[in-house]
Subunit: 140 residues, 2 copies
DNA sequence: ATATTATATGCCTATAAGTGCATATATGCA
DNA sequence: TGCATATATGCACTTATAGGCATATAATAT
């Protein structure tokens, strides 16, 4: 006799997974693995595993688009909705804020709302963003 | 680098401890171990251990009164207050409701708001409550 | 087809966590 | 002082979990 609530809390009772969930509740964007990897600066296999755990706990949903996998919060469950609302306020702190900053940078590389690059080393990110701005200028 | 939030979630990521916390957020009463034992119908050593975990996580505070130990929610922390408010709405379900019913019965045995008996087997509880009512009638 | 890329997963190891039982501590009372 | 009672804790056992590494899968593009 396991409660749904304890299953959920087990899923988020881990710093890495809290950081992942924080990305979702703050950005409210479907995110793909590589974007999360870059935001958290963790190995891909770690992020992938933790996403699977969150998925199995019913907290997130995955939609595949080619090789890319877009993950987003599962708001179908009323308990989940309550949880996410709560977490948005509850997850405060330097770690979480820093992750969001990196995610926001990383999302600048999207094209028409879609992820178009894989992992981007943090030191290359600013350069890539500049290139993208150049491209946009040329198009105009 | 462990976040406060993950520590907290680890503490409540367990069915038994969620049930304990549910007693607190619902009753808003300081409770002693024997009352919790009777409400949850779990061995005393289990309840005691889980209370220690909740205490170490900073979620509850204990105040000793003789052999009795009154446990109550630690509302000193703003994050905790948010959490408890959330949990009060979030912890719904048969298990939690049943626990509350048994706790409410059990609390009828208090005298002037204090616990005065140890463990009471569920089948003796109704009898004891009746005895108490008799006593009160005699006093009047 | 083959190479590239995005993501998932199997195996290993170390550590943590929950349960049960017995027992310790500590306070109150006769 | 000695006994009953409320609560805490140490030990043994078992299971769960996270991290690291290598590799598998699967879709795209050349």
């Amino acid at each position: 006799m396991k409660t749904l609530q304890s299953t959920t809390f087990k899923a988020i009772a881990d710093d890495t997974r809290l950081r992942v969930v924080n990305l979702f509740v703050t950005s409210r964007e479907p995110l793909c693995v590589c974007e999360i990897v870059d935001a958290l600066r963790l190995p891909q296999y770690q992020v992938s595993k933790h996403l699977t755990i969150l998925k199995n706990a019913g907290l997130i949903i995955v939609e595949k688009d080619g090789t890319w996998g877009y993950h987003y919060l599962n708001e179908n469950n009323p308990l989940n909705k309550m949880l996410f609302t709560f977490l948005k306020k509850y997850l405060v702190g330097e770690v979480f804020d820093d992750d969001i900053k990196r995610l926001e940078m990383r999302l600048l590389l999207r094209e028409e709302g879609r992820c178009v690059v894989g992992f981007v080393d943090e030191k290359d990110l600013l350069i890539k963003i500049k290139e993208k701005k150049q491209e946009l200028l040329v198009k105009e």
